[in-house]
Every structure is written in C-alpha cells, then in structure tokens.
Symmetry: C2
Amino acid sequence: MTRLKKFGVAVLGFGTVGAGVVETLQKNGDLLAERLGVRLVLRGVADLDLTTDRGVTVDPELLTTDAAALIERDDVDVVVELIGGTGVARQFTLQALKAGKPVVTANKKLLAEYGEELHRVAEEHQTEIHFEAAVGGGIPIIKSLREGLCGNRIQSMYGILNGTCNYILTRMEDENLPFDEVLDAAQKAGYAEAEPSLDIDGLDTAHKAAVLASLAYGCTVPLEKVQVAGIRGLSAVDIAYAADMGYRIKLLAILQSGDHGVEVSVQPTLLHHSHQLAAVSGVYNAVLVEGDIVGTTLYYGRGAGREATASAVVGDLADTALNLQAGGRRRDLSLVKEKAPVVFRDPGDIVSRHYLRVSMRNASGMMARLATVLGDHEIGIDSIMQKEAPLDAAYVPVIIVTGPASERAMADALATIAGIDGLIDQAPVMYRIEDFN
Amino acid sequence: MTRLKKFGVAVLGFGTVGAGVVETLQKNGDLLAERLGVRLVLRGVADLDLTTDRGVTVDPELLTTDAAALIERDDVDVVVELIGGTGVARQFTLQALKAGKPVVTANKKLLAEYGEELHRVAEEHQTEIHFEAAVGGGIPIIKSLREGLCGNRIQSMYGILNGTCNYILTRMEDENLPFDEVLDAAQKAGYAEAEPSLDIDGLDTAHKAAVLASLAYGCTVPLEKVQVAGIRGLSAVDIAYAADMGYRIKLLAILQSGDHGVEVSVQPTLLHHSHQLAAVSGVYNAVLVEGDIVGTTLYYGRGAGREATASAVVGDLADTALNLQAGGRRRDLSLVKEKAPVVFRDPGDIVSRHYLRVSMRNASGMMARLATVLGDHEIGIDSIMQKEAPLDAAYVPVIIVTGPASERAMADALATIAGIDGLIDQAPVMYRIEDFN
C-alpha cells in the first residue's frame, strides 16, 4: 500500500459529539483512507474537562486544555468545533479561519447568529466552513441542498428539525399523555436537556431554519425575521382532537418563497396523517424540499445524537481533506451573494387553513354568533366538531377547521370573538394546518 | 459582474431527459453561474433525430447528428450521455473519457454492465464519470452515499427504484384493479413503455441495485449475482390479502451485508403499512440506507421524468465544472478498490418471513397436513387466514405468514407440499416479508 497523505484533525470540545467523532475515526479510519486516498489523523482533542469518561479511549498525549495552541499547530489541517454556543466557539472558529484552516462545525446557533461574519472571514482567508452536522444530524441535507439540488430554485422547505420536540409530541399522541409528564420523562431518558427551553420553545429549530433559509434563498436571515412558536404547554386535547380529524401536530419549520416575499417560520402545525412528514416519529428528523426542477424530495434520519452527528462531521472532514488535497477551496461555500435584499413576507399576509379550538358558551345561538364572526372576516369553515357535553356545562369545546385565511384575518376574527361578552371563557387555541400545495 | 469562466457542455441524446437538461440550463443558468462562479454553456446537442419537437427552443446551430465530432470540440469540457443502452452510448462515453473529458450519464444499464471498464478508462485518462441521474431520478442518493455518508460502513439498503412498477402497484392496491388493466392504463398515460419488460420484470431495478451495491460494498456486482423477480402477473388478490394483514407489496431492491456475505436482490416484497417505504406511492422512488455510524436514513423523490432527472444531471455538471476549475479530478470516483473479492451470499441461506398463498383442497385434515410439512421444515407460522368459501368449493385459498425461514427451507417445504397428492391444485404464491431488523 502506498503511503497515504495525512490530514491532521483537531477536535475542540470533547462532549457527546466530540467523542463520537473520535470513535468514528478510530472505527472507520481505514475504510475512509481507502475511500478517500487521504488519511484523517487525529492530532488532538481540546476540552477544559479532560477527566470525565467519554466512552472512548484516547492516547492521553492527544488531550489538551489549550485549544488555541492546538489550532495553530503545523500538523493540524482542519479544526472541528464542537464546543457549542457563541462564546469561545466563535473565538476559536475565527482563530482557525484566520489561520487559513477550514472549520467543520455542528453549531447552528453560531451559524444563525454569526454566519455572515464567519463566511466573510473564511472568504478573506481563502478557506472554508462546513456545517452539515448543524441541521438534521446525520442527514446529508446541507450537501443535498447546496450540491445535489444546485440546479434548482428552492420554492419551499418543511422541516421537522428538533428531535426532542418530536419525541415529546410522538409520545403525547401515542400514549395520550400531558406535555409536562412527557417532558419530565424525556429529561430522565436524556432526550431533553435539564433546561429545555432552547428545544421546546422552538429556538433550536429557528436556528436550523435560518441556516436552511440562508442556503435556499442566498441571503442572511436575521433571527428576528423568523416567526417562532414552540410546543411548551401544548395541550393533549388538541393532539387528540387533531387526530380525530386525521391530523398530527408537528413542530414544523416552514420556508416558502413566493411573489410576496420569503417566509421563515417555526410553529406547531397540523399535517394530514397520510403525509410523509406526519410519519416522522420519535427523535427522527426530516426535511421536505421543493425545487422548481426536481419537484418534491425528502430526507429523513436521526436528527441528533453521538453517532449520527459524528457521521455528518466526518463527511465534512472528507470533503475538506479532498479540497485541501486538490489545492484549496473548491466550491464557494459562502452564501450566494445577494443580488437584491430578500423581502420577508409580512406574517399577517400568510394564508393557510387553521385549527381552532374555542371554549364556547353552552347556549343557543352561540354557534351562529361564532360562525357569523368568521364569515364577516371571510373565513370559510371546512369542518366543525362539537362533542356532546354535560347538559349543565357552562362552556363546551368547539373545534373548527377553517378554510384558507390570512393570519391577519384570523387574528382580527379572534379579537372580535374575545370582545363578545360571554361567548368564550378562555383564549382560543389556534394552529396552522399545512396542506403542501 | 466579472467575466465568468465558461464551461462547455455537450448533450448526446435529445430525448425526454436531454430536452429537460437543455431547458434547465436555459431556465436556471444565471442562478447556477451565481452559485458556482462558473457558467455552464451548451455547446451542442447531438441526436440522429433533429426534427421531433422536444418542447424546448434550441438555436439550430447547436443541433448536430455528429456526436463524435461534438465530443472532440475544443470548447466542449464535459459530455452528457443521455442516449441510453449499451451500443453507441458506450462507444461515445469511452471516446469522451479517452479524450480526458468527464462524462455525466443517466445510463444505469451501461453502468451495471460496463461500469468496471468505464471507471478504469476514466482512471487511466485522469477524468471522471458521474451518474447521479442513473438511480432514483432527482434524489441525490449517489452523492449522499459516496460523500455525505462516506464515514459509514453501509450495512443495508432498501430501495423502491422503479417508478413504473410502483405506479402499477399503487393503482392495483388503491383501486383493486388487475395487473393487466393497470399496465395498459400506465402505457396509455406514458408511465410505462410500450415494451415494458425492462421495468416490470425487475431488470431496471436490478441495474440500479447493482450500481448502489458497487458504491456500498466497493465492488463490481455482476448482474448474474442479483436475484431478480419482477411484478409481471402479480395478482390483485395477493395485494388485497396482504393489505388485510397490514402489509403493502412493493418491488424492493434489497442490499444486505452480513457475516455470510453480501445479498443483492430484487423482488415483490411485503412491507408493514406503517413503514416509511410503504408510504412511497405512485411514480415516486425512495432509498433507505443503514450505515454503521449514522443509523437509518431515507431519501425520497421522483424517480424518473424529464425534470427530476435533469436536476440530477445538472448537479453532476456543477460538480464536474468545479472539479475542472480546481484543476481536475477531486474525489476518486471510481469504485473502492477491492481488498478481497466480495462474497455473495448463497440465496438459499437468506432468512426472512414469508407470505404464502396456497390453494388448498377443501377437506378435513388438509390444514393439518400443510402445517405439518411447514413444521417438519422448521418453518414457524405467525398467522393463518382462511376466508369462508362456498361449501362445495374444491379448493380454498389459505394465506400463511411464516416465521423467519431460509429460502432453501421454504423451497423444500413447497416441493414437499406439491408432492402430496391432491393437497393443492396450483403452485403456491410466495413473497418475502421484509422486517427491517
């Protein structure tokens, strides 16, 4: 066997994913060398905590607490940033890029908040930043979008991008359990963080949606342009009512590009149970991509975890190694240059069908008043469900599936309903229904 | 705007996909130039028939009947082979590779039968052959396998790879129609060829399975090592019985790698209706990939057609252009060198559950004899379904779902059953059940 060229890898952050990357290089290093014609060699692992057992054996000489020094070593060709957050992660990423070394990262928050800066610095120093692991875990969605589908104008994307939320929603539906109980179980099983807000309030999904949007639309998407609602406090009764009508509720990232601008949003959304995305359960992720040439494509896999994320990082390392071997950058990995500023659609203009649960006074004429308000706002009714309630119940739940209506019309109608004395006794619950036109 | 480097494209074959590629370059050429920093310029389209309307407007000066001369032109950097078959398609592909020009092809038959030769010639002339469009239409499955998942040992793949067959099976199930009627309708709708055997007898799927297997296992897979059964004559009653028991029948390519060697097979297979692949309907394709690091991933999209296939071809053109711009080949696109010859598993050793429909004599003691034979061959019974039949029926259908059993044990048992005088009046129908362990 001929001597293979070696390609030095520095891993920053020896947590779950860092250990997974080290383990993958150990386990499949020979296979990779055979496939790539280049050998990926681990030069060092930097972390402040070098004592915790990571479930993987590493030569102690490879461990260091000095990430900055590791980055600068001559035999380090690429830096893997797995620290997370936007503090030292950003600092070390910039240091590596400024040293002309490519960076592979799984850090969606860093990309969503500082992507423009990172891409600019990479460009200035003629190097690259790869981030397959930042969205969809092991699913090669970034590569598919940027390379495989590069001949397409991306019209829309729909993503289930947070495994924790999908696990919670799946268990709530399957076992008819309340949100708090499932969150508690998920935390105990290690599927949810002790501080779960990044996941359940939709921010993690928003970070990932912003990364996908930047690739689809060729623009930087400021996080404040992403409409975000999470699943905290989602009621089991809404999951059950939705199921009765043939729908599942998923935390869905929606990216749509149309004549009136671009939409990037994250919210609990009803999907018809027969749709491919409705079948994505547990900790799995999936992204549906609609391109103007290819039509509908879908990508599915584990959205997080030690191994799946490591698979994506190693895929990026392979690309980086081959690019360096070929003399440098190959594909301009920065965002597509903005021709004209992207226009974000006014959220109030977004039109969809809606699921509406109203706690309505149990008295004659009430349903007519409700229907009249919707009609006055030109909101059609596709179906109504009112289950029998005790005769003496003061208020009863009414489930309405509306026809297509703008967010603005819905908000106006709900305000009118709230203003009618005694018609409802609590704020209505409203979710979007996605029909994938 | 700076002058972009131009990259000359020759298209051989002006059929459905050829026209789609030309149209995509016209429609999204500016977008591609922006994304790639290279402009793809159509230099010529070669076909013997230049008069048929292709639904796309091309400068007549670009049309030629002389493919060989087009390939040699100095301003042609890449050759797109969309002729099909293994005659002139092979000849022109070899000519281009020998001229050191990369080839992009959608020709699975050529790859399955001559892949080794093509890769060797490409290697000798330091150029590349790309074939994303050969499997799964617009789905970037080749790129995902070879690049995104390159850190993984591929343990198994399951593919619905032929849109015509899946369309037929979907309509048979949805509308409870016989095979011949749906095939006829598919031919009239343009979803099936006038001569449909390549599709319905499973050969097209086998070609694609061989291409996938060569990537997964790093070996050439001779077509004679692929076990092939198609859907011709599949009975509507088996689709209905399978549905009764919660299964759908799909023409499935199965690739599995285990201790006892490698399996590559194509056959009608029962999948539980809740499985993601069972939800793939109509002309759509999907591939499920299990890697040792990433776990289960799935890729879904249109498996054929003008636009979807063009999307894959253009993705390959982009890669080729960027590689050439970077000075030549980047990734060794040839197959992984064989370390040791791959061992193909003896088909008789393959173990799975089976669906069995037996036309059994309607007399007492018959079921016991049937069950005894299965038991004698150590074939367990997971379920039996015998519907009520007219009292005077001489033979009645019995549906058996077996426990896990080898193909050999099943064949032996069926031979024994056939040898028992009067027990059955026609050959049993048997299909594999895939449980995706």
